[in-house]
Structures are given as structure tokens and as C-alpha cells.
């Protein structure tokens, strides 16, 4: 049996070798190519990219949309995670189904549906005119608001589920204990609940933000070519403009951004866990 234990590690080899060859090495190659020119290592591509005001507008677009989407998801997702942890019976089934089902439906399907919903004669416009918020039908499709609504819809489960995973572990007696000790409800929320749920909030924000930074199909369908983000610009430069130099620079920026979000969030989550 001893010999078995030392040999068993080799079972990992096929999967690891596979991913190193077709995934890790190509990513490193992409990074290497973006900093090498005809005469060795150069950052010229990046210098040109960051010197262009258009690039900064694209980076600004990316960050603003991702930030807004994350904010909407957090404001909606936080209470929903608590509702999910408390729900029983039919309510629980409905909530769970409404969160899990959209996760298993592809993004092309959902983005197309939002194209229909956000039209001038779409459901949202009809509803808002019906209740008197808008005096006449308006088009949300191809606007930033429309993009944020559609993207928040697609990414909301990724905010709810991580927060739910920490909320369900909280002992409800903690709040009762706080109440018995005469702590007011607002203080109880900020001193007990918020710190306890912070690790879930951090990982939810990290999930949604990184998904929103790198989304490609949703902006292509909901806002169009005039509004560029880092991801759509990357896709366009490879697929349409055949400008691979620009594409590999934006791809590298995206990759660095994604890795930074992962590292920062795991650091913050560890801090938050220790704090609570």
C-alpha cells in the first residue's frame, strides 16, 4: 500500500501536462509576444497603446460599465442572498430555480432576449409607459443603461451564490443575542451581519467584476460597435480588423486585470475572514 501512495500522484500527470501544453504555454507565449519586437524586449506596443487617448476612453468604458454592473448586482444580490437562506418550501424552490436555471442557459440566448426586451416597443418600455414613469416609449437598446441592465441580469447569480454560501452559515441566534444585549438594529447589521458576510461579498464582487470586464457577446448585442470596451476591442482586432498587434496588447491588459482581481480578492477575502 505504501508504494501505491507514492505512485498515485502520477495520476495527475495527464491532466496537468494537457493543460500546460494547450493552455498555460499559449498564455505565456501571448504575454511574451506582446513585449517582444524585432529587436528583443520592448514595451513599444504598450507605450503606443497607453499614449492614445482612444485607449483611455476604452479603458474608462470598460471600468465604468463593469463598476455599475457590479454595483447593481451587489444592491440586488445582497438581500436576495438573505432571502434565499431564510426561504423554506415553495419560496425556496422558486428562488433557487430562478437563480440556477438562468445559469444553465447560454449568454447568446439571454443577450438576444434582452435585445427584444429593451426595444422601443419592448416590455420594459411598455411597462414604464404603462405605470406613467415615461410619457412616451423609449429605446434602451444600444444605450449604456440597457447594457448595464442586460449584463447585471446575466451576472446576478454570481453575486447571490457566494454571499448565500456565507449567509447560510450564520447562526441566527447571534442577532438575537445582540438584540438581548440591547444593541440597536442598525448597529447589529453593521457590527455583526456585515462583517460576517464580508468574505462572500468580496468574492461576489470579484466574480461579477471580472466577468463584466471581459464580457464580449453582451456588449456586441446590446450596445453595438460604437461603444468599445477592452474585450470587444480585443475581439474586433482579431476577428474583424486583423490588427493582431493591438489585439495582443488589449488581451494582455485584460489578462493582467483578471489576474489582479483574482489575487486581490483572495487577499481581501482572507483578511475579511480573519476580521470576522
Amino acid at each position: 500500500m505504501k508504494r501505491d501512495r507514492s505512485l498515485i500522484g502520477w495520476l495527475a500527470a495527464p491532466a496537468v501536462i494537457y493543460l500546460v501544453l494547450v493552455y498555460a504555454l499559449p498564455l505565456l507565449w501571448l504575454l511574451a509576444r506582446s513585449i517582444t519586437g524585432p529587436e528583443g524586449i520592448t514595451f513599444a506596443l504598450f507605450r503606443d497603446f497607453f499614449a492614445d487617448p482612444f485607449s483611455w476612453r476604452v479603458i474608462g468604458n470598460t471600468m465604468r460599465i463593469a463598476g455599475l454592473v457590479t454595483l447593481v448586482c451587489l444592491l440586488v444580490g445582497y438581500p436576495v442572498a438573505f432571502a434565499l437562506a431564510r426561504a423554506k418550501g415553495m419560496r425556496q424552490v422558486v428562488l433557487l430555480a430562478a437563480i440556477i436555471l438562468p445559469l444553465s442557459v447560454g449568454v447568446v440566448v439571454k443577450a438576444f432576449a434582452w435585445q427584444v426586451v429593451l426595444r422601443r416597443d419592448g416590455v420594459v418600455s411598455q411597462f414604464l409607459v404603462g405605470i406613467g414613469v415615461w410619457s412616451e416609449p423609449q429605446r434602451l437598446l444600444f444605450t449604456e443603461t440597457g447594457l448595464v441592465i442586460g449584463a447585471a441580469n446575466v451576472f446576478l447569480p454570481f453575486m447571490i451564490l457566494p454571499i448565500y454560501s456565507v449567509v447560510k452559515l450564520i447562526d441566527p441566534r447571534l442577532m438575537e443575542a445582540g438584540a438581548t444585549l440591547g444593541v440597536g438594529p442598525l448597529r447589529r447589521f453593521f457590527r455583526i451581519l456585515l462583517p460576517l458576510t464580508l468574505p462572500g461579498v468580496v468574492s461576489g464582487i470579484a466574480f461579477v467584476f471580472s466577468l463584466a470586464v471581459s464580457m464580449f457577446v453582451i456588449p456586441s448585442l446590446l450596445i453595438g460597435d460604437r461603444f468599445q470596451t477592452l474585450a470587444t476591442l480585443t475581439g474586433r482586432s482579431f476577428l474583424l480588423m486583423r490588427n493582431e498587434a493591438l489585439g495582443s496588447v488589449t488581451a494582455t491588459v485584460l489578462l493582467v486585470l483578471a489576474v489582479m482581481i483574482v489575487l486581490l480578492s483572495s487577499l481581501l477575502a482572507r483578511r475579511a475572514a480573519r476580521f470576522s
Binding site: 495527475a12 442557459v105 485584460l254 483578471a258
Partner: protein, 266 residues
């Protein structure tokens, strides 16, 4: 309960109710449009009809793309299940340094932008002269499906009591029999749920697949986006409704196997 708490609680349920409506809106709208007879997506539809479903049979390029997607998703899921399970066993049972790092590495494709992974692979495949679309798609989709398998099987294995295998051996099973009769049934639900989600992830993938399609080999999402750009009509809603039905079936099977609550574990 103080009034403030009662208000907070009421708000929570109201927001939860709105969130359910919000989350289900795209799915409900898609299904409603697909059964309507209006070509301009009027909602509610003036009249119900099946005309968009009848069109599916002679929509150019639809069936080949469905076949490609199912082939790629099925095969890549199968390969990931084999490689991923072997690796998960090594991580749980092995005694070598860096096991956590390996687990993180295998799950990492899920955390990086799909577009960047796709571009990197495209350039890598070009470098070794691989230009065949179908093979490239398969190789790339194994990377997409692997995280789902590793994550779920790893969680199931860490709950598995390996002394059961020794017990089976003592009761006269050969090593292979012990694995087949004890380990495989114990991991069954993990195989099924991770397999289903891996399959769906591959079926739905756009940002990686887009780099490996040519005029003859397209996956379903690529073909659908092309329809959306060329001539958006409710035929796309009918295709979508089919995919939503598939997702409903997967969710019901998942519920029966491990329960909805388990599916929500993150």
C-alpha cells in the same frame, strides 16, 4: 422585532420577488416570442403559432452546427471526466507538494477572460500548424470543461472514505473490482452533475469557440449570433426555447440527483 427590522424584512422579500421576475424575464420573453406569430417580436403576441418552429427544419446551417456542438460538448466532457477524475484522485490521495496549486491551476480557465484564453490557444495552435477547426475546437473545449469536473469531483472525493476500498479488497475484490463496485458508484452523482454542467458550458461557449470556426464548422452559439446579425427573427427565439428546455431538464435531473440546494453550493 423592531419596526425597522420589520421594514428591512419586508424589503428583503420584495427585492427577492423582483429579482425572480428580473432573472426569469429573458427566458419567459424568449419562449413567448417563439410561440407568437409576430415577426417583429410584438409582446404579448397577437396570435399564437408554431411557424418559427416549422422554420427550424430548413434553417440553413442550423442542424450541422447543432451536431458539431453536441459532438464537441460530449467528447470534451468525456475526456475531462477521465483526466479530471484521475487528477482529483491524485490530489486527494497523493502525498506530493503543490497539490493545492494544481487544483487551482486546473480550475483557473474559469477565472480568466474566455476571449484571452481563446486568442492564446489560437496563436499556440497556429504555431504547431494545427488549422483544422473541429480538432482545434475539441482540444480547446477540454480546457473549458475541465474546471467543472475537477471542482465537483474533488469536493465529492474529499468526502469519500478510502478505507472502503481496503474493505472491498479484504472481502475478495480485485483492485479493479474494488474501484468499479465501490468508488465509481460513490462518485456517480458527482460525475453526472459535473458532466452536465461541463456539457452545458461547452454547448454555450462563445468567446473561445469563435476563434476556431471556419465556413463549414460552426458551433451553435456562433451560428446563432450570425443569425442575430444577419436577419433577427423569432426563429432564433425558437432555437433558444429549445436550449432553455434543455436547461430545465438538466436542472430537474440535478435536483433529483443531489438537490437544488446542493447545486447552489459555490
Amino acid at each position: 422585532m423592531t419596526p425597522l427590522e420589520r421594514i428591512a424584512l419586508a424589503m428583503m422579500w420584495i427585492i427577492a420577488g423582483c429579482a425572480v421576475v428580473f432573472l426569469l424575464t429573458p427566458l419567459v420573453v424568449t419562449v413567448a416570442v417563439s410561440f407568437g406569430n409576430s415577426a417583429v417580436f410584438t409582446l404579448p403576441p397577437p396570435e399564437w403559432s408554431l411557424r418559427w418552429y416549422e422554420r427550424l427544419a430548413n434553417t440553413r446551417g442550423l442542424w450541422p452546427s447543432i451536431i458539431t456542438s453536441v459532438q464537441i460538448a460530449g467528447l470534451s466532457t468525456l475526456i475531462s471526466l477521465v483526466l479530471g477524475t484521475l487528477c482529483a484522485i491524485a490530489i486527494v490521495r497523493g502525498r506530493f507538494p503543490g497539490r493545492d496549486a494544481i487544483a487551482t491551476f486546473l480550475v483557473s480557465p474559469l477565472m480568466l477572460p474566455g476571449l484571452v484564453v481563446g486568442i492564446a490557444m489560437l496563436q499556440g495552435f497556429r504555431l504547431i500548424g494545427l488549422r483544422e477547426a473541429w480538432t482545434s475546437l475539441l482540444i480547446a473545449h477540454v480546457v473549458i470543461t475541465m474546471p467543472y469536473v475537477v471542482r465537483t469531483v474533488l469536493a465529492a472525493l474529499s468526502l469519500f472514505d478510502f478505507t472502503l476500498l481496503d474493505a472491498a479488497r479484504m472481502l475478495g475484490c480485485s483492485p479493479a473490482q474494488a474501484v468499479r463496485r465501490v468508488l465509481v458508484p460513490a462518485l456517480g452523482p458527482a460525475f453526472l452533475t459535473s458532466g452536465m454542467f461541463a456539457f452545458l458550458a461547452s454547448m454555450d461557449n462563445y468567446p473561445v469557440s469563435i476563434f476556431f470556426t471556419d465556413a463549414w464548422t460552426k458551433t451553435l452559439p456562433i451560428q446563432m449570433l450570425q443569425y442575430v446579425e444577419e436577419r433577427p427573427d423569432p426563429t432564433i427565439a425558437a432555437i433558444s426555447a429549445g436550449l432553455i428546455l434543455l436547461a430545465v431538464i438538466v436542472m430537474i435531473i440535478g435536483d433529483r440527483l443531489v438537490g437544488l440546494r446542493k447545486l447552489a453550493d459555490f
